[in-house]
């Protein structure tokens, strides 16, 4: 059980989980006709998945420390608020989109990358538990990353980004996982106190992104009843998904 792991195994495992995020782009190979409504429902779905993911993060963060998680969350909120304000003064061009659309796409990729950073630290710290636990965790996180790729692709794809590039950005957003898993695995004792802060930061950033960008945009283009339905079911699905893993 307590076979000690080499750092290269951690790197390989965490890279595998990052690649799995790219699979989230696949369902969007079938999205052809893109009306403003499709964009709205895609954003509603991304909002639900992100809210569900942040519920999961908050739950694991508070196991380490409630106050630290919440303080981290407030910092995450301020981070997104600041970035949003800052990007406002530029004409953001992301993939083929400019202006508000481009800003939203860039923010989603950024938020999901921040989220993976927190996860990477948590994963690395978790690998200290031995080979069996590590294998289970790698598989679990790889699968768990797929809906995160869906969330990203749901925002990028309806705005004309190709499926391959959606997959690319999804994988990009997960790169902090392998990059941070290794140092956090090697220095687990010194990393652990920072975990609730990082997890809270990611959760706050995601929740705020949903409230600031995704929901108001979705509600502008589609009837509230259906936006609510898609987002709520996305949230419930993500909670189930995370708890089953």
């Amino acid at each position: 059980m307590s076979v000690l792991l080499d750092w290269s195994v951690v790197l390989a495992a965490a890279s595998l989980t990052a690649l799995a995020t790219g699979l989230g782009a696949l369902p969007f190979a079938f999205v052809k006709r893109v009306s403003p409504r499709t964009v709205a429902y895609s954003e509603a779905l991304a909002a639900g998945l992100m809210l569900g993911a942040s519920f999961g993060l908050l739950a694991s963060g508070t196991e380490y420390g409630n106050l630290q998680t919440l303080t981290g969350a407030v910092l995450g909120i301020l981070f997104i608020l600041g970035t949003d304000r800052w990007l406002d003064s530029y004409t953001v061009r992301f993939e083929e989109s400019e202006g508000a659309s481009g800003r939203r796409m860039l923010l989603v990729v950024l938020v999901m990358t921040v989220h993976s950073t927190a996860e990477g630290i948590a994963v690395g710290a978790g690998f200290g538990g031995g080979a069996t636990l590590a294998t289970v965790m790698t598989l679990a996180i790889a699968v768990h990353n797929i809906p995160e790729g869906i969330a990203i692709s749901a925002v990028l794809r309806p705005r004309g980004t190709s499926v391959a590039r959606c997959a690319g950005w999804s994988i990009f957003s997960s790169l902090p996982q392998p990059l941070l898993a290794v140092p956090s695995f090697l220095f687990v004792e010194s990393v652990r106190p920072g975990l609730p802060w990082a997890i809270g930061f990611a959760a706050g950033a995601m929740i705020f992104m949903v409230l600031l960008e995704l929901l108001p945009e979705a509600l502008e283009e589609a009837p509230r009843g259906w936006v609510g339905l898609v987002t709520s079911l996305g949230l419930v699905g993500m909670i189930l998904f995370q708890q089953l893993l």
Binding site: F55, L70, F208, L215, R224, L229, L233, I239, L244
Partner: protein, 241 residues
Amino acid sequence: MDPILLVLLFSSGAALAGSLGVLPLLRRPRPPKAWMGWGNAVAGGAMLGAAYALSRSVDESLILAGGGVLGVLFTHWTHSVSRTETLDLNLLEEGDATYGYRIFLVSTLHSGTEGVAIGAAMAADLGFGAFMALAIAAHNVAESGVLVAVLRGQGLSLLQGTGLAVAANLTQVLLAVTLYAVAGAAPAILPWAAGFAMGGMVNLVLVELLPESYRQAGRTSIALIGALALAMVLLVQGALA
């Protein structure tokens, strides 16, 4: 005290707390649009926090999600069957003859899901239930303030509006007590009820509270106030746990 009386006491307290929402209206009987939006955002953030807490209270994830889907579908269905899915919920001017009744109906149905939340939380653990009642009470203050302003627009006095806003919360008391009693007799329904309330409350936030709030106060202040209300609920939950 008999636990069921505690449930009655806590859920009634949460229902009555709504009357505090009238306080800002004593100064501004016809509040600016932004106040309405902020009230909705506080109510939405607190409710999202309550839903999060419920999601943590159940170990059987499949049942939690099953109940959650039922709660989402039920609230979606009540909006469509009551023909309120596109109704402006925060009209400050006088609406047509049925407007006030439809708003009262929406509010009454809305409180029902909150009652399930309080009842399920109390049946799981009285301390957790007290927290849930507190979160819903905070939510009610903001929500009832908005409702009183709307009812005033339909020609009611502040006192009448406040009375009706509290009356709309009575379904909350009724369902909290009933659910607690039934869960005592049939504990198997408890995780279903918690999931139902979680899904239902999330959907109500998304359909009834946030859309109006964005129109009224703009997305930045709404996102900030909503997220902070959510954080406050989590802070209290952590302090009580």
